[in-house]
């Protein structure tokens, strides 16, 4: 036995002793995750999925635009090999004992590979952002991929991360427990567009942990579609003075479920956090959007915004919106709100008065609201504009709105 095997067995043993996510768990009781056995895989899950080679390639990295991959050090590491596992996990926090810790232990038990990216400053190119695309395609029926991103002080990175696959690439449902760790140095900036579109029967749990040094800025726009189980959980730790985090999520549900959770921890003065979500749901979909923000003692002049909203597009979707603030300092600004309701009637009539029929007006305004959420999440992002221009969102929304319980039905 080597140290990698020992660590994996120890993680399994921890789970055996401590158990899985409790049914009464505050964070998970609205949409309890599948049982532990699903996340540990079995002998049959060791087989790769029946995808062609590049469609089941795990992480692939694609430099975009003129910025290229200058300053990027990318290392694909084998977590079953002790030295590479040590390098992969170096500096990462232990799974701990929080509410989501069983997912982290299960990840340690199953993780087979990961990608470690370091984005460093390049002399003479300080002003130019590093623009990257990361694509992830599943490799196994049950897997626990890892992504670690270190952005050095003062570096600006723009990242498109996609998790898409088609049933024709791999006919088997996938169970995926992904953990991402992002560390931003002082003054670093990461604009992060994430698109996660699993197949209907997939079980997905993505855990993203970001830590921000002084004056670092992390902006994430997330597009997530529903599946048999889909968890998107973000933990944002603003450790340095003047750190800023913003997170905007667009949740598209056609009848299944998404559990969206964002925990922000403002630990330093003049830090700021903004969390926004919009769930567009139909049929019997079930969505949870849970924003929890803690302002620590001493986080003077911290600024917090939470805005959670949802719109039923047809059928009888159920949505739980949970804005939550814990404020341990006096001199702060905080605002939160949750809205579950219809499309704006004044905008709808305006569009109809210009000649759009009811269905077209609703579709135009619904897609507009979706775009607006993402644009607020990634201010003036050229990458987002390009992604929106690709038509992915328009096609996805058209398919959703034309569905059996969508607006145009």
């Amino acid at each position: 036995m080597n140290s990698s095997q020992a660590e994996r067995l120890a993680a399994r043993d921890h789970l055996r002793r401590q158990g899985w996510i409790a049914r009464r768990s505050e964070a998970f009781h609205h949409l309890p995750p599948p049982d532990l056995a699903h996340w540990l895989g079995g002998p049959s899950d060791d087989a790769g999925c029946d995808a062609p080679p590049l469609a089941g390639a795990g992480w692939t990295l694609h430099p975009l635009g003129d910025g290229g991959a200058h300053g990027v050090d990318a290392r694909w590491l084998d977590a079953l090999e002790p030295a590479q596992r040590a390098e992969l996990l170096a500096g990462l926090p232990p799974p701990g004992d929080g509410e989501a810790a069983p997912f982290a232990w299960a990840h340690r038990a199953l993780c087979r590979q990961g990608l470690r990216l370091r984005i460093a400053a390049t002399p003479g190119r300080a002003a130019a952002p590093v623009v990257l695309e990361l694509r992830h395609q599943p490799r196994q029926r049950a897997e626990a991929p890892l992504l670690v991103i270190d952005v050095d002080a003062g570096v600006h990175c723009v990242l498109l991360e996609t998790h898409e696959r088609s049933a024709s690439d791999c006919a088997h449902p996938v169970t995926q427990n992904l953990h991402s760790h992002i560390q931003l140095g002082a003054g670093a900036r990461l604009q992060h567009l994430r698109v996660v579109a699993p197949e209907a029967q997939d079980q997905i749990a993505h855990h993203l942990h970001a830590t921000l040094a002084p004056d670092a800025h992390y902006a994430q726009a997330l597009v997530a579609t529903d599946s048999a189980y889909h968890l998107q959980r973000g933990t944002l730790q603003l450790r340095g003075r003047g750190a800023r985090a913003q997170h905007a999520a667009l949740l598209l549900l056609q009848g299944q479920q998404i559990d969206h959770q964002v925990h922000s921890d403002l630990q330093a003065p003049h830090s700021a956090s903004a969390v926004e979500s919009l769930a567009l749901a139909q049929g019997g979909a079930r969505a949870v959007s849970n924003a929890y923000t803690r302002i620590a003692a001493g986080a003077d002049e911290a600024d917090v915004r939470q805005r959670l909203s949802g719109i039923p597009l047809g059928g009888q979707p159920r949505l739980t919106l949970r804005p939550h603030l814990e404020i341990l300092h006096d001199n702060v600004q905080a605002a939160h709100g949750a809205t579950w309701g219809a499309l704006p009637a004044d905008a709808l009539f305006y569009a109809r008065q210009r000649g759009l029929d009811e269905a077209s007006a609703r579709a135009l305004i619904t897609e507009g609201m979706a775009r607006a959420v993402l644009e607020r999440g990634l201010d003036d992002s050229e990458l987002l504009a390009q992604w929106l221009a690709s038509g992915w969102l328009g096609r996805r929304m058209a398919r959703q709105l034309q569905g059996p319980t969508g607006l145009t039905s």
């Binding site: 704006p344 009637a345 004044d346 905008a347 009539f349 305006y350 569009a351 109809r352 008065q353 210009r354 000649g355 759009l356 029929d357 009811e358 077209s360 007006a361 135009l364 305004i365 897609e367 507009g368 609201m369 979706a370 775009r371 607006a372 959420v373 644009e375």
Partner: protein, 256 residues
């Protein structure tokens, strides 16, 4: 030779908003290419007339008739009224978050073109004409790429209404306080735009209290609305008189 029928014929129109009867009886005719100014105190029903004719779901028509080029407006859903040629410039144009102005207008224009059996305009052709129209109205080109009315000033919203009017080229336009929030250049743009479209046959109903603009618009008629009825009919002299004496001193409605 028999004069043509008026483009718009409204007869004994009665409208409720919620439980309240706002229009008690309104009748008016508007010919193609002509311009009628509608004046009246706050709450007299001016905006209600426009919104009711446009088919706003909160405005319930209790009775009466409204024909546009012989078509029964009141029997049509809102979008068909627009496609029939009715354009309403909103007193407070709403935001349409995330929908770019050029996409919004092109989608509307193509919906109207499609209903007339015309080919849709492609994005390039549309953008060329939209840029030209925006320039003529003093709107920065960049506003075509911004979400509809989001972050626009009051004057910019009104110019954006004018831009849509210019590109959609309706048969009848109801302009509800188009001058509010406009600077002097904006008001001049309104006057020029209206004159250009009138020459092409577009008819106008203009709600305004701004005498200088009313005079420049050279209206064919000025109507005073009071308590949901047409209380007075006249020419631009009536507008001047109202501007001098106000609404409070004038008599109650004398009939529809």
């Amino acid at each position: 030779m028999t004069p043509p029928d008026p483009l718009l014929q409204v007869r004994d129109l009665r409208v409720n908003v919620g439980e309240r009867t706002v229009l008690r009886s309104v009748s008016l005719d508007v010919n193609a290419g002509s311009l009628v100014v509608l004046m009246g105190a706050n709450g007299s029903g001016k905006s209600t007339l426009g919104l009711a004719l446009a088919g706003h779901p909160a405005y319930h028509v209790l009775g009466g008739q409204a024909l546009l080029a012989g078509q029964d407006l009141l029997a049509m859903p809102a979008h068909e009224r627009a496609r029939a040629g009715l354009f309403l410039s909103f007193q407070s144009p709403p935001d349409v978050p995330g929908v770019k102005n050029n996409l919004f207008i092109r989608t509307a224009l193509n919906a109207q073109r499609e209903s007339r059996g015309q080919e849709p305009l492609d994005a390039f052709d549309f953008l060329t004409s939209a840029k030209q129209a925006a320039k003529g109205l003093g709107l920065p080109e960049a506003m075509l790429g911004r979400p509809v009315n989001a972050g626009f000033s009051g004057g910019e919203r009104k110019r954006n209404e004018l831009l849509q009017l210019s590109l959609l080229q309706p048969r009848l336009a109801l302009l509800d306080e188009i001058d509010s929030g406009m600077d002097v250049d904006g008001v001049r743009a309104v006057v020029e735009q209206v004159a250009r479209l009138r020459a092409q046959g577009t008819a106008f109903i203009v709600v305004s209290h701004y005498l200088q603009m009313i005079e420049q618009l050279q209206p064919d008629a000025v109507l005073r609305l009071d308590q949901g009825c047409i209380a007075e009919r006249g020419d631009v002299g009536l507008a001047r008189h109202i501007a001098e004496t106000g609404f409070a001193s004038r008599t109650a409605p004398v009939g529809a």
